[in-house]
Symmetry: C2
Subunit: 161 residues, 2 copies
Amino acid sequence: AMEKSYMSVFLLLVALSCALAKEPPKKETKAPKETKETKPKLPQTLSRGWGDHLIWTQTYEEALFRSKTSNKPVMIIHHLDDCPHSQALKKAFAENKEVQKLAEQFVLLNLVYETTDKNLSPDGQYVPRILFIDPTLTVRADITGRYSNRLYAYEPSDMPL
Amino acid sequence: AMEKSYMSVFLLLVALSCALAKEPPKKETKAPKETKETKPKLPQTLSRGWGDHLIWTQTYEEALFRSKTSNKPVMIIHHLDDCPHSQALKKAFAENKEVQKLAEQFVLLNLVYETTDKNLSPDGQYVPRILFIDPTLTVRADITGRYSNRLYAYEPSDMPL
């Protein structure tokens, strides 16, 4: 039991370091770096590396509209380009064929900038953070990951979840 | 003078037919068609054909953030994939080298779905519609096109403007 709780604490620390890095908010962590040295690859894609073969929506408004009309739930992934935990989750998400297949059942949106909808941050704004919205446009705050203090954080090892 | 006013009326009619097609709102005109026959090209790009070599922001929130931090004004293009006037404007915009060069001076955003910010529709929601926001995050409702009843509508021939 002792070992298990050590493990939980370790996982929590790993999962939260990006979130913590954002408080207090610093320009450097909030914005993806885009100096002359690191211009985005052109043309930029909506998938941003989370799965080029999936159909991604551009904005929250589009995702809600498509959910309503297609009767599919929305999956919203909040992430940051310079957050190693976001990057690790992205890699696991993009490379896992089952996850990619499952993702087709959702209206997909990945966001680097927070929306103004507070329903999307039931326990704060941190990354990586995944939320689901059902076709009645209700944010499913009850669908959570494994971490009790950052309910919507996921780890690469959480893919089966 | 007679000829000129006929011409204006004609141009107005041309400019407004997309906008009118949207009232009353129909699902078919509001959403870009995405049936099994017409899946989007994958991976989808943020430029959506308005200039693959330009840097486009994904969301309104991102555009505002980048404007503030870069001190560049925002140019927001509202358009629809199944609006021929949007398409014509897009073609003119993408193919005009001077416009593309000028566009680099802006934080760029092209949207198919309206935001919730009413400041972006000072005289209603219609397409194509271009609005500018200065780095103090003020929507410049004073920057208008040539049409008095749809202030922010532009035509392919308006490129010099």
